[in-house]
Symmetry: C2
Subunit: 231 residues, 2 copies
């Protein structure tokens, strides 16, 4: 399956390092801050709706999340939220941007192996540009990657642009990630190869039902270390 | 000077299209909203300081600006700002993200000319990834560019990374832009060629004093159309 592979793209958040659990923690703190106005579950729903409404305009990442948290706090409190809560949201968001980067098990071993086998490795991720670059630097695994591609979205056309930019054919590209919606299906759609590694926590907006994928270019593994045997 | 040039990088904001005036307008509205607390000039200073403090964490672009506006409003009002003002800031920020893209005079003519001469053109810009991609799409000039590079910063090392990514030597790269600090000096530092096109409005944080630059790889032009004669 990987005979023609030249470039291997790795999703970053929850594929290389822990991410979504940080968002969930911040969301929980947010809902607690607003529990005088609405039960936590209700606040969570309003936040999700606000985030989804804002995606087209803001894109992905922590700054977009902070702005949606502030907007949701105003909605949830019917404009009664104290300024102190807005201040707290900004403080928590800044803390999130400064969180340590925790690599998932086996990541460095896999990167070392694929580098030795002479594949060109890139990071292909959504999110805030600066935040993702900072995480890559902090991670200690920057040296394995040719470069980082920050994508505003991960639809078919975004991957087509990526291949044009990399100057390779679809069959020369392999994508590895934890989101069927963002890392796997669009890559298969445009003729690339994809390896799915599920992660225990997925943002609702990213989750698709993992029906059976009948595509010869698709592989699912339980942990990233299994990849070594594939190439 | 341009004998070895292969790739020409264009800065986007205030080089290809109008940008800084939109930020100035929003800043003026913001200071007006807070004039009950402080004179507009004072608010403007606090905003600038907040933005500069946040650059390392937030990077550039409208979302970073919105978050700094909200933080500044809290500071300026000593935590007395009404929620309605926060709401208004979010609304104004969203409007800014939806502003029309106004190309500067002569831009399309220059891009058409350089494309016909077979240079590889790229956009190399700071700012929000999604916002810059959206502006490029709206602008109608996307077709002239091989791709868009969103850079978290524009220091020497960032341009070095860019060249590595483009797989070219410094002498094969020309950068064109309106910021001496971001588009010109770092490119000259790493051995590239640079063309400076001043724009009437520059953000204070970007402005350096245009001392005489004694570098054989440096050119200043008054308008982008002059570039045609250089290549």
């Amino acid at each position: 399956m990987f005979r023609n592979s030249k470039v291997i793209g790795f999703d970053a958040d929850d594929t290389l390092w822990v991410n979504e659990p940080y968002f969930k923690e911040l969301e929980a703190e947010f809902c607690e801050l607003l529990q005088d106005y609405l039960p936590e579950k209700e606040s969570s729903k309003i936040l999700f709706q606000t985030e989804v409404n804002n995606i087209e305009l803001y894109g992905y990442g922590v700054k977009a999340f902070m702005l949606s948290l502030i907007e949701s706090a105003i909605k949830i409190s019917k404009k009664n939220v104290p300024v102190q809560v807005i201040e707290k949201i900004i403080e928590l968001g800044k803390q999130q941007l400064n969180k340590p980067v925790i690599l998932l098990d086996g990541v460095e071993k896999v990167l070392r192996d694929l580098t030795q086998k002479n594949y060109k490795l890139i990071v292909a991720t959504k999110g805030d540009l600066l935040d993702q670059e900072r995480k890559l630097q902090k991670s200690g695994i920057e040296k394995y990657f040719h470069h980082i591609e920050i994508m505003s979205n991960k639809n078919d056309s975004d991957y087509q642009k990526l291949l044009k930019h990399l100057e390779i054919k679809p069959e020369e590209f392999v994508m590895i990630g934890n989101s069927l919606k963002s890392d796997i299906l669009p890559v298969l759609n445009i003729g690339g190869t994809a390896i799915y590694i599920p992660f225990h926590t997925v943002w609702e907006h990213e989750s698709v039902h993992p029906e059976n994928i009948h595509n010869g270019n698709y592989t699912e593994v339980k942990s990233i270390e299994e990849i070594i045997g594939l190439f």
